[in-house]
């Protein structure tokens, strides 16, 4: 790979990683469940594009095509479809008031971004591709956690978990050039799929029992 190509690939990856971060922030302030699911699909599409770019520009990284393909099939099409169906079946589309309002959450997430970059600072020299992708990955992790604690609908918590997963995948790509060994990637992929199905099953049962998807009602067990 010549330097010009490498530079181009690196810039594309930086751009896409920044796009993932922007989408994450949009999810934090967005209240509609269906829009949130679409945003997540878009974020996963960007992750798949990053993997595809790496596979394209590196000669000996063909297994990264697998990662791109799996992300595309699983996280861009299948999981959003599954979650969409569940939301429609339950006929709940709007998130009732989150714990923190949107401007305060935005401010907080700005802080998280700063923190993510500070933590990633000593390691920027280790990044093989793109600039500050590790910082973005850690920010995705922190904002994903925040999203989880800020929302009360079970489906949004599942989405938050998935964005954290996207962050891990971004870190894997940024730090290791070729991603992890294929068997590990495959294992992680299937675990995520099964996890979402198990969570969906639980959400369904919670809804049947509590007639609600509001997890703040789950508060009987104490001490």
């Amino acid at each position: 790979m010549n330097p010009v190509q490498s530079d181009l690939a690196s810039q594309c990856i930086t751009l896409l990683a920044a796009g993932m971060l922007v989408i994450q922030l949009l999810m934090v302030v967005q209240g509609m469940l269906l829009t949130n699911i679409r945003l997540f699909a878009l974020q996963s599409l960007m992750l798949a594009a990053i993997a595809a770019i790496i596979a394209f520009f590196h000669n000996n990284a063909t297994h990264v095509y697998w990662v791109a393909g799996l992300t595309l099939v699983g996280k861009v099409f299948f999981l959003p479809w599954l979650l969409n169906r569940q939301v429609r079946r339950m006929q709940i589309e709007q998130e009732i008031a989150p714990l923190l309002n949107s401007s305060a959450s935005m401010l907080l997430c700005g802080g998280f971004t700063l923190l993510g970059y500070i933590v990633a600072r000593p390691f920027t020299s280790l990044e093989r591709l793109g600039n500050n992708t590790l910082g973005v990955a850690i920010t995705l992790l922190l904002t994903g956690f925040f999203l989880m604690f800020n929302r009360r609908k079970a489906i949004t918590q599942v989405l938050a978990l998935l964005t954290v997963e996207n962050g891990v995948m971004l870190a894997a790509v940024a730090l290791t050039t070729y991603g992890m060994p294929l068997v590990v990637e495959l294992g992680i992929f299937f675990d995520v799929m099964v996890a979402v199905m198990v969570l969906g099953l639980l959400v369904y049962r919670i809804r049947e029992t509590f007639a609600s998807m509001d997890v703040s009602k789950l508060s009987q067990l104490k001490g």
Partner: protein, 494 residues
């Protein structure tokens, strides 16, 4: 002869076979049979690692078993055997009382062997990445077991368990990725190996900053799954709401399997940076867990939550033992792992019997005099409680004394004193609470028939094993434990 593949395949196949049959009795038998076979395979594995090269490697280094893995395999298979022995009668009673549907019972007998397979894969995988997804698989299979009764509270417990567990595992995956990245040669273009043996061989060349960051992520991540404070909040909920055989598995081995994953990273970090960094962190989290558990045990009102907090304390003690990092305390920690795995299931089985007779776990409502209602259960529970609080002649006394002794001898008198105080608190709490429900004259009139002999084979097996191993450790077992202690302590064993 292949050994590791059958250990993984037998329970997995048994689980799949249970999909095809209808009768709960047949499913229970299939489970017992499968775990019986894995115990035998585990013993065979124990004998194989006695001679050089002391490791068993299969499938092009995909599976690898050293002394530490063998020790874990033995624990997992014995506890699974005990809890499958108990599960047959337990669910027969639940079905008779219509507490569960037959579909749910099938779910139990299918998922439990898969849960066990996941745990075996955690301890037998060579690659740290495979270890991660095996742990995630154990979390996913056990969460449906926790939600088995479909009560409001069990769904709440399952939700907390799966959300906190997945968050923890996401953090652990971050740590795993960092570890992988730390080992990559800057110039090499060949994707390098993620195998344990490979990483250990090049531990000295790993990027130390990266390894430090990775260990912090892994500690919080796998620590959540192992139930270390302050990430333990799912633990008492899940343990108290799950059916008793599952509680026994969760507490007896699942916590320790997560701890095993953490220990692997501790060993790697020690090889790279020296023991000060990761050892101190383990010590702090272990002490924190012990100090937090003791007051909760003293004021607890729910029987199974009491046992869950006691598990939290024992896990804390194991971490302290490893964190103190002297050969004596590590040996004590390993010993403690084993004895606790044999003791805690008995307590959960007995609690299950009491639950089925009294239909409540609130100790106030269970009331005094259980020894008159369920004599055999009460005797087993009493003995196991005496063992769990660390009284002789049971092994937990020796392991606790070993850790304390090693701690004082290594000059950690403050840490050892705190451990002693926490142990004392738990001791008073458990004995006080359990004597209140076991002894005395029954006051509550029960409508359910007591089945005095339910679960006695399972409890007898575990207690018998505990007593035997308390006074006599067979030479091969002792050898493997010494090697495992050496591996954790960072001795350069071939």
């Amino acid at each position: 002869m292949m050994l590791l593949v059958p250990i993984l395949a037998v329970p997995a196949l048994a689980g799949l076979c249970c999909l095809l049959v209808r009768s709960p009795r047949v499913m229970a038998c299939a489970n017992v049979l499968a775990f019986g076979v894995t115990v035998a395979l585990g013993v065979e594995l124990l004998l194989q690692v006695q001679a050089p090269p002391y490791v068993v490697i299969e499938c092009e280094e995909f599976f690898r078993a050293d002394a530490l893995s063998v020790w874990m395999v033995l624990l997992i298979s014995v506890v699974s055997l005990g809890s499958s022995l108990y599960a047959g009668r337990y669910f027969r009673r639940d079905l008779a009382a219509q507490a569960v549907t037959s579909g749910r019972v099938k779910e139990f007998f299918v998922l439990t062997p898969l849960f066990t397979t996941g745990m075996f894969l955690v301890v037998l995988a060579n690659s740290l990445g495979v270890m991660w997804f095996a742990l995630e698989a154990t979390a996913l299979s056990s969460v449906l077991l926790v939600a088995l009764y479909n009560r409001n509270t069990s769904l709440e417990a399952a939700w907390k368990y799966v959300i906190l567990g997945s968050l923890g595992l996401a953090l652990a995956l971050f740590g795993t990725v960092f570890t992988y990245a730390a080992g990559i040669d800057q110039k090499s273009t060949v994707p390098h190996s993620f195998n344990w043996s490979h990483l250990m061989a090049m531990a000295g060349q790993l990027d130390p900053r990266m390894i430090k960051l990775a260990f912090v992520f892994v500690l919080v991540g796998y620590g959540t799954k192992a139930g270390l404070a302050p990430m333990h909040t799912w633990l008492p909920d899940a343990h108290s709401e799950a059916p008793s055989p599952t509680s026994a598995m969760l507490s007896g081995v699942s916590l320790k399997v997560a701890l095993y994953a953490l220990l692997r990273f501790h060993i790697l970090t020690t090889a790279c940076l020296g023991s000060a960094f990761s050892g101190t962190l383990l010590l702090v989290f272990g002490l924190g867990s012990m100090c937090l558990a003791a007051p909760f045990i003293l004021v607890q009102t729910n029987l199974k939550r009491l046992l869950a907090y006691s598990s939290l304390e024992h896990v804390g003690l194991i971490c302290v033992g490893v964190g103190l990092n002297s050969p004596v305390t590590i040996w004590g920690a390993l010993l403690h792992m084993g004895y606790h795995a044999l003791t805690k299931p008995v307590l959960f089985f007995a609690a299950g019997n009491i639950h089925q007779t009294c239909h409540t776990l609130q100790m106030r409502l269970i009331g005094p005099g259980m020894a008159k209602v369920l004599p055999a259960t009460a005797v087993c529970m009493g003995l196991a409680a005496v063992a769990a609080t660390g009284l002789p002649p049971f092994g937990l006394f020796f392991s606790e004394m070993t850790i304390l002794n090693g701690g004082f001898a290594a000059g950690h008198s403050v840490v050892s004193t705190i451990v002693l105080l926490a142990l004392l608190g738990a001791f008073c709490g458990i004995l006080y609470q359990l004597t209140r429900i076991l002894l005395g004259v029954p006051k509550v009139i029960r409508t359910t028939d007591a089945a005095p002999l339910d679960g006695v084979p399972a409890m007898g097996l575990m207690l018998g094993a505990l007593l035997v191993f308390s006074v006599w450790l067979p030479a091969p077992l002792r050898f493997v434990m010494h090697r495992a202690a050496g591996i954790i302590g960072g001795e350069s064993v071939p």
